[in-house]
């Protein structure tokens, strides 16, 4: 992996260097992350399929700054990789905040260098994590999985504490040793996920639980894909809301925003709930859904409207769910399980019933077996 990255950097540097020495204004071509360069399919999710190319031309006053920024950044990335170090976006910004860049690459604010990072990804065809630029990681996994990560230690993900294993910023280095779960349940919110762990559901029913903490981080998405590539079914459990179908679809299909990064989609993952049918008549939550649903806020409604033009939400299920939001102007949250019970001793059974129903329906897998 790292070798590929280093080769790519040398290749670009060689090309630009030669042009400069020939007295030819250097030129870098790259496929912009415009919608026309992005394809979507249910089977692969978002895929980067460049048809159009943009140019960074060393003879244009506006382009030359970009060119210099890219070359400088490649040099710094190479240096960090050689030292085994990562940097954050803020680190990357600070690399430019030096005396000698006054009037040239000295950034007016971090947005400027953040944009450059996306450009680096497009030019190299690699993710920024591969170039050693990471962001704050987010998300933990709990369950009977054994792996070795960059730290070199062998880690059993149900033996690292009650929160589970904190997924590192760049999971590329992870090697799986043993996987003893029949599925991974990715849960949007920490609260319900934590309750399931407290109720020993992962231990007793042999599944792993991934806590997404809202919109999943790139590292969590990459981790889920890597474990899916090992043949483990992935189930996604989120709120019933316009935002949450985005979360589920991001796990499954990746997003337009990072469509140019390979390996972030998990197309075999299944969106198991909460579905609108669960709160409708005859649904699992029927008895509380009249009062426990929340009204959509202005922003929620705007989100549902915007969903109508998101390619990954064009499939039948997504359209049905989103239409429900627009019609009913309601949402339900995973906390609705708590509104279903009078005594907390009823909670475990409730979770099991729900998950078993959903696993059978979507993963063709019985939880109880």
């Amino acid at each position: 992996m790292e070798k590929l990255t280093i080769e790519k950097i040398y290749e670009i540097a060689e090309k630009i260097g030669e042009m400069i020495e020939r007295g030819e204004p250097p030129l870098l071509e790259y496929p912009p992350a415009s919608t026309s360069n992005i394809e979507f399919s249910e089977h692969e999710g978002y895929k980067f399929a460049p048809k159009y190319w943009s140019k960074i031309l060393g003879s244009h006053i506006k382009s030359v700054k970009t060119l210099a920024g890219v070359i400088f950044a490649l040099e710094r990335c190479l240096d960090h990789m050689k030292s085994g170090l990562t940097m954050t976006k803020r680190d990357f910004y600070y690399l430019h905040k030096v005396e000698k860049f006054k009037g040239t690459l000295f950034p007016s604010d971090q947005r400027e260098t953040d944009t450059r990072i996306v450009l680096l990804e497009l030019i190299t065809g690699l993710s920024r994590e591969m170039l050693s630029i990471t962001s704050d990681p987010r998300g933990e996994v709990y369950g009977d999985i054994t792996l070795v990560d960059k730290s070199g230690n062998t880690i059993k993900l149900n033996k690292v504490g009650e929160m589970g294993y904190a997924v590192p910023p760049n999971p590329e280095h992870i090697k799986f040793k043993e996987i003893n779960v029949k599925a991974v349940l990715a849960v949007e919110k920490v609260g319900p996920a934590k309750n399931m762990i407290e109720l020993k559901i992962p231990d007793e029913y042999n599944i792993a639980i991934a806590m997404l903490h809202g919109q999943p981080s790139r590292s969590m998405r990459r981790f889920l894909r890597m474990i899916s590539d090992k043949g483990v079914p992935i189930a996604v459990l989120v709120d019933l809301s316009p935002w949450s179908i985005r979360i589920a679809s991001t796990v499954i299909y990746n997003s337009i925003h990072s469509a140019h990064i390979p390996g972030l989609a998990t197309p075999t993952a299944k969106f198991i709930g909460i579905h609108s049918s669960d709160v409708e008549e005859g649904g699992f939550f029927e008895k509380v859904s009249k009062v426990a649903l929340e009204p959509l806020t202005e922003e929620d409604l705007k989100c549902a409207k915007d969903n109508l033009s998101i390619p990954s939400l064009m499939g039948k299920t997504w359209i049905r769910e989103n239409k429900w939001f627009l019609e009913k102007k309601k949402k339900a949250e995973l906390e609705i399980f708590k509104a279903m019970i009078r005594k907390s001793s009823e909670l475990k059974d409730l979770y099991i019933r729900y998950l078993n129903m959903k696993f059978e329906e979507h993963l063709n897998l019985s939880l109880k077996e």
Binding site: G17, I20, E21, R22, G23, S59, L67, I71, F72
Partner: protein
């Protein structure tokens, strides 16, 4: 038993006396300013009528407890001896009731000033004037308000050099100079902009002297008295014209009495009105009068009203006025072609000044003039203000919040559509708004190309410097990655001078234009 109301007639001066607030004399501060303004305007008119680059001297003297004596002297055309009492001591008596551009449209401002002095101090006022026949007439006058009649208290003749013409008005009033001072000086400054050929000297009650020297001796052309335009006619006007005409039939009457009316046109209009062209105008019945007015108003092929009765300042003179008072970095003045609203001809002159000495207020400074009078109050209600607000200034590469900028709008017309007797702001007539907008946009376009040229020239010089800096960074980083030195010189030579762009030898752009 029938009750009976008592009916009373009051004189025009009594009417204005009772309602002095509507003419702007509603408090001591405002009245002090109005007195200066009305007398200076009469003086300016007198200078214009004399056809020379005149001189005006205004002096205040404090008399204690809020009483001031003000003297205004001009070397304009002068007032004939026999007209002095009525011209100054009678309301609705004036030389201004003709179809010609003059400053005091209502013809009563000067007399109102004198009337205000009289009712606040009961002092008589003095007028001394010569029309160039070797002597001056000096009057001491009062106004009999109830009867709208001048009372001559004293009169004498003074020998003066033949050919010398002048008018001196001296009056005493109760006012407040301290608080009116700002407005008075602003008024004089703006007057100096719009009449750059007049020398104005002002002496305040403390003896401080303010001089607004002339910037040119060239006068604008004198306005001519004009005939009516057919669109500006109603039954009353038509009857007056008929009573004055010497013609015997309608065709001649129309073509002699109106602008832009040849015999052919006259016949067409009369056909439209179904009137016999040979008919004697004096024999028209009431019904026929109305028909003729309607035909005149609805005929749509007249030329626009004749603007020869108007006297704009002229692009060159206005520019001189602006430069002398503000010293801007850039100025552009445009005189729009004559136009008309409701049958009244008008000409709009517009100026835009930018940078330099233009006051930096964070917004466009608007200077408004009507028939060469500055308008100082109620700017936000004025048509020009609305036009300026409508314009998206970013189109012209200017940000009024950051760049000091002034807009000058001068409207001259036989009939300025003021909204109040105070003559402070102009109504929102679409024809006038349109001309102002076109004028401002023309100036703004000139300003834009000035700014763009200035920017472009600076840019070329900067370009090479910037390129060199970036290629140093590129070279250094590449050398680091590749482990061998990449020299940027070859490519720098190539791209330093791109096609179509040239760098002047010393790299300095010439920013001075239009000045």
């Amino acid at each position: 038993m029938p009750r009976r109301e008592e009916y009373v007639e009051i004189s025009p001066s009594d009417f204005f006396y009772r309602n002095k607030d509507i003419a702007g004399f509603d408090n001591p501060v405002r009245a002090t300013y109005m007195i200066v303004r009305e007398l200076v305007e009469n003086a300016l008119d007198a200078c214009d009528r004399a056809g020379r680059a005149g001189n005006i001297y205004v002096a205040f003297r404090g008399k204690g407890s809020g009483v001031f004596q003000v003297e205004v002297l001009d070397d304009g055309i002068g007032v004939p001896e026999d007209e002095i009492p009525k011209a100054f001591g009678k309301v609705l008596y004036s030389s201004k009731y003709v179809l010609r551009q003059s400053r005091g449209t209502f013809g009563l401002g000067g007399t109102m000033a004198l009337l205000y002095g009289q009712i606040t101090t009961h002092e008589p006022f003095e007028v001394c004037s010569s029309i160039g026949d070797g002597y001056a007439a000096r009057y001491r006058l009062r106004i009999d308000i109830q009867n709208n009649k001048p009372i001559v208290e004293r009169k004498q003749r003074i020998k003066v050099p033949p050919g010398a013409t002048f008018t001196l008005v001296k009056l005493t009033f109760e006012g407040n100079y301290e608080r009116a001072k700002g407005k008075i000086l602003e008024y004089l400054k703006q007057t100096a902009i719009i009449t750059p050929y007049i020398n104005i000297v002002f002496r305040d009650p403390k003896g401080a002297i303010y001089v607004f020297p002339r910037a040119t001796t060239k006068l604008p052309e004198e306005p001519k008295e004009s005939k009516y335009h057919p669109y500006g006619v109603d039954v009353e006007v038509l009857k007056r014209l008929i009573s004055e005409t010497k013609t015997r039939n309608l065709v001649s009457f129309l073509s002699k009495s109106f602008q832009s009316m040849g015999r052919q046109t006259a016949i067409k209009v009369l056909k439209k009105a179904r009137l016999d062209p040979e008919k004697n105008p004096r024999k028209l019945t009431d019904r026929e009068l109305v028909k003729l007015v309607r035909a005149l108003r609805s005929y749509d092929k007249f030329r626009a009203p004749d603007a020869s009765c108007l006297s704009p300042v002229g692009e060159e003179a206005l520019e001189k006025g602006i430069v002398k008072e503000l010293r801007p970095e850039f100025v552009k003045v445009v005189q729009r072609p004559p136009s008309a609203y409701e049958g009244h001809p008008f000409i709009v002159e517009v100026g835009v000044a930018y940078g330099g000495g233009v006051p930096a207020t964070g917004d466009i400074v608007l200077y408004r003039f009507a028939n060469r009078i500055p308008l100082l109050y109620d700017a936000a209600s004025d048509v020009a203000y609305k036009v300026i607000r409508k314009i998206d200034w970013s189109t012209y590469y200017v940000d009024p919040a950051r760049t000091p900028m002034a807009v000058f709008v001068h409207i001259c017309s036989t009939k300025i559509p003021f909204k109040t007797v105070g003559k402070e702001f102009i109504a929102d007539k679409p024809e006038i708004a349109r001309e102002i907008e076109l004028g401002i946009r023309e100036c703004a376009r000139a300003l834009r190309s000035y700014i763009l040229k200035k920017i472009a020239k600076q840019r070329i010089v900067e370009r090479y410097k910037i390129m060199r800096k970036y290629y140093e960074i590129i070279s250094e980083s590449l050398s680091e990655i590749l482990g061998r030195r990449i020299d940027p010189t070859p490519v720098l030579k190539r791209i330093a001078k791109p096609a179509g762009e040239e760098v002047s030898e010393n790299g300095e752009a010439d920013n001075r234009e239009n000045l």
